[in-house]
C-alpha cells in the first residue's frame, strides 16, 4: 500500500464518503488512489469552489467537509475558503499535495510554502514528513477540526510520501486526550448565573452560531420555553430559534431589526450564547448594551473578555450549561414591551410601483419553499435581505458567509449542501456581483446534475458598496456600476441550466413556482432597481440605537 491509498483508507475510516477537489501534479498519486478507492469525489472548477463546497457540505450536515488540491496555485486558491471556514468555525479538512520532499525549499515548479500560508487561515495545519506520520496526523486533523470551537485543518503531503510505501492500513488509533474527559461545570458558576437571571428585570438572549455548532439548538429552545426570556440572534445564529418564537426579534446589529437593536440597548442582562461580540453586531462597542451585565457562554475561552468584559462566563459545553441554568423569571413588563416593539417595528412589504421589491420577494419565497429547504446566500445587499426577510427553523438551513463575508460563496456552498442533502431543496440566493465571482461552479452543477435553484437578484451594481458610496462617499460610484453584466440566462444555458428573467411584480408568483418546481437546476434572474438600499443601517462608529432608515 502506498501513502495515497493509505490516505483514502483513512478518510473512509473517518466516515468520509464525499470529497471535493481539483487534481494537479503534486496530488496525482492521491487522485490515482481516488480513481477506484471507493470515495465519491466531486470535481469543482476552481479550488476555491472546492473549499466552499466542503464548507456548504459541512454546514448543511454538521459533518466534516473535505477538500483536496494540488501544490502551489491549487493550495493558494484554497486559502480564501479556509479563511472563510476559520472565521465561521466550520470543520473542514483540506488535503494539499506538495512537491517531493527533496525539492521543498528549492523554488520547484508549483512549490509554495503552504504550511506557512496556512498559519493565519487555519485552526491548525500539518506537513507530513514521513509515511508513518500519515495515520496519526489524519486522526489528529479530524479531531482538531471538530473539537472545541471547530475550524479548518490543512494537511500538506509531499508527493514522495504519497507514492512511497505506507504502513499497512489497520485502523486509526483513537486518541486519548484530556479533551475527552469532561469535567463537571463549576456549581457556583451555575448558581450565580441563575441568580443573575432571576434578579434581572430586562434579560435578553443574544444567540450566535455556536449554539448550532454545539448541537444545542434543542437545549436553547427548551431554555426559552422555560424562561420566556426575549431573544435576538446573529447572522450565524439564524435558525436556532424558531422564527415565530413569541419574544424573538430576529437579527441584531448593523442590519438588525429595530426591535432587536433597541432591546439590546435597553436590556439589563445580556446572555451571550455561542456569540462573540463581532463589530457588525455591536456597532460602537462602548455603547453596546451599556446598561447590561453580561453572561457569556462560549466554548472558546479566548472569546471571553476579548471585546466585552463579561460579569460571568462559562466555557463548558452549551448542551450541558443551558439545561443547568433554566430558572423561572418574572419579567412580564419587559415581555410586554418587547411585543409592543415587535408590533410597532414589524417589517412592511407594501411597496409602490411595478418594480420588484426584493425583501417582499424573499418573504414570499420563504413562505412558498418546502419546509426543510437549505438557503445558501452570497454576500452583499441580498445577503442582508435574506437574513432579514427569509426564515428557516434549523441553523443548518441558513448558510451564509458571515465572518469573512466572502463574495462568491453562495453557489459553491449550495453545491456542497445539495450533495450532502440530495433530497432537500437547496436555494442559492446571489447578487450579480457575487454570482460572477465563482460562476465557473455552474460547471460543477452541470457535472453532478444538481437541482439547485438559483435566485439571482440583479441591480447591475455592487449594491452594498454602492449603498455606502451613496451614504458615506458623496455618491461617487467608483467601480460599482455593472451595466455591462453578461446575459445571465444565456450564460446559465451554456451549462444546461434553464432560466428566465423577470422585471415586474406580476411575474413573481409564477416564476417562483417554476423555480421551486423545476426538476433540475434553474436560474431565476430578477432585475431590481439600483436605488434599493438595505434598511435599517447602523452607520459605522454609531451605537445600535442610531439606525438610519432612509436616505434622509
Amino acid at each position: 500500500m502506498n501513502g495515497a491509498n493509505f490516505i483514502v483508507q483513512a478518510l473512509k475510516q473517518k466516515n468520509i464518503t464525499q470529497v471535493f477537489g481539483y487534481p494537479g501534479g503534486a496530488i496525482m498519486p492521491l487522485y490515482d488512489a481516488l480513481y477506484d478507492g471507493g470515495l465519491n469525489h466531486l470535481l469543482c472548477r476552481h479550488e476555491q469552489g472546492a473549499a466552499m463546497a466542503a464548507i456548504g457540505y459541512a454546514r448543511a450536515t454538521g459533518n466534516v467537509g473535505v477538500c483536496i488540491a494540488t501544490s502551489g496555485p491549487g493550495a493558494t486558491n484554497l486559502v480564501t475558503g479556509l479563511a472563510d471556514a476559520l472565521l465561521d468555525s466550520i470543520p473542514v479538512v483540506a488535503i494539499t499535495g506538495q512537491v517531493a520532499s527533496n525539492l521543498i525549499g528549492t523554488d520547484a515548479f508549483q512549490e509554495v510554502d503552504v504550511l506557512g500560508l496556512s498559519l493565519s487561515c487555519c485552526k491548525h495545519s500539518f506537513m507530513v514528513q514521513s509515511a508513518d506520520q500519515l495515520g496519526p496526523i489524519i486522526e489528529q486533523a479530524f479531531k482538531i477540526a471538530t473539537s472545541g470551537r471547530p475550524g479548518p485543518v490543512l494537511i500538506d503531503i509531499p508527493k514522495d510520501i504519497q507514492l512511497g510505501d505506507a504502513p499497512e492500513f489497520t485502523s486509526l488509533k483513537v486518541l486519548a486526550t484530556e479533551n475527552n474527559l469532561s469535567t463537571p461545570i463549576d456549581p457556583s458558576l451555575i448558581r450565580q448565573t441563575r441568580e443573575m437571571i432571576k434578579s434581572a428585570s430586562k434579560p435578553l438572549l443574544y444567540v450566535g452560531g455556536g449554539v448550532g455548532m454545539a448541537n444545542a439548538t434543542q437545549e436553547l429552545r427548551n431554555f426559552i420555553q422555560y424562561t420566556y426570556i426575549p431573544s435576538v440572534c446573529t447572522l450565524k445564529g439564524i435558525g436556532v430559534i424558531e422564527h415565530d418564537s413569541e419574544y424573538f426579534m430576529g437579527m441584531v446589529g448593523m442590519h438588525g431589526s429595530k426591535a432587536a437593536n433597541f432591546a439590546i440597548q435597553e436590556c439589563d442582562l445580556l446572555i451571550a450564547v455561542g456569540a462573540r461580540f463581532d463589530d457588525r453586531v455591536t456597532g460602537k462597542l462602548d455603547e453596546f448594551a451599556s446598561h447590561a451585565k453580561v453572561i457569556h457562554l462560549d466554548i472558546d475561552a479566548a472569546e471571553i473578555d476579548k471585546l466585552r468584559l463579561a460579569d460571568l462566563a462559562i466555557t463548558d459545553d452549551l448542551k450541558e450549561v443551558l439545561p443547568a441554568i433554566e430558572i423561572e423569571t418574572f419579567i412580564s413588563a419587559w415581555q410586554k414591551h418587547i411585543l409592543t416593539m415587535k408590533s410597532n417595528f414589524a417589517n412592511r412589504y407594501d411597496h409602490p410601483g411595478e418594480a420588484i421589491y426584493a425583501p417582499a420577494m424573499l418573504r414570499q419565497l420563504a413562505e412558498m419553499k418546502p419546509a426543510d429547504t437549505v438557503i445558501c446566500s452570497d454576500v452583499g445587499q441580498h445577503q442582508m435581505w435574506v437574513a432579514q426577510h427569509m426564515f428557516v427553523d434549523r441553523p443548518e438551513n441558513h448558510i451564509s458567509s458571515s465572518g469573512l463575508g466572502t463574495m462568491g460563496f453562495g453557489i459553491p456552498a449550495a453545491v456542497g449542501a445539495q450533495v450532502a442533502r440530495p433530497n432537500d431543496t437547496v436555494i442559492a440566493i446571489s447578487g450579480d456581483g457575487s454570482f460572477m465571482m465563482n460562476v465557473q461552479e455552474l460547471g460543477t452543477i452541470k457535472r453532478k446534475k444538481l437541482p439547485i435553484k438559483i435566485l439571482l437578484i440583479d441591480n447591475q451594481r455592487l449594491g452594498m458598496v454602492r449603498q455606502w458610496q451613496k451614504l458615506f462617499f458623496d455618491g461617487r460610484y467608483s467601480e460599482t456600476i455593472l451595466t455591462d453584466n453578461p446575459d445571465f440566462v444565456t450564460l446559465a444555458s451554456a451549462f444546461d441550466i434553464p432560466g428566465e428573467t423577470i422585471v415586474i411584480k406580476s411575474q413573481l408568483q409564477d416564476a417562483l413556482t417554476r423555480l421551486l418546481e423545476s426538476d433540475g437546476p434553474y436560474l431565476l434572474h430578477v432585475s431590481i432597481s439600483e436605488e434599493e438600499n438595505v434598511w435599517p443601517l447602523v452607520p459605522p462608529g454609531a451605537a445600535n440605537d442610531k439606525m438610519m432608515e432612509s436616505l434622509q
Partner: protein, 85 residues
C-alpha cells in the same frame, strides 16, 4: 504595558513561527525572545517579553489555544520585578 510570557510546547518545525505570528496579529510587539529545544528537539521552551496597550490575557488565551502548546504563563511588569527581587 510590558509582559513576560513563559511558554512550553511540543516542538514542531513551525511552532515558533506560529507563536510569533499570533503575537504580531493580536497586537503585541516582541522586545525580547529566548528559547531552546530540549529532549532531543521534542519540546520547545520560549520566554518572550512583549509590549502592547492591550491586556495580556488577549494574547495568552490565543496562545493557549494553539495545538502543541502545553503551558503558558503570563506576567505583568510589576510581577516580573517582584519575582526577580
Amino acid at each position: 504595558m510590558k509582559y513576560l510570557l513563559i511558554i512550553q510546547g511540543e516542538n514542531s518545525p513551525e511552532l515558533l513561527e506560529r507563536l510569533l505570528r499570533v503575537c504580531r496579529h493580536r497586537g503585541f510587539r516582541v522586545q525580547n525572545i529566548n528559547g531552546e529545544t530540549t529532549e532531543n528537539e521534542k519540546s520547545l521552551h520560549v520566554t518572550l517579553t512583549v509590549c502592547s496597550d492591550r491586556p495580556v490575557g488577549l494574547l495568552s488565551k490565543q496562545i493557549e489555544k494553539l495545538f502543541g502548546i502545553t503551558q503558558v504563563a503570563a506576567m505583568g511588569q510589576e510581577q516580573v520585578i517582584k519575582a526577580s527581587a
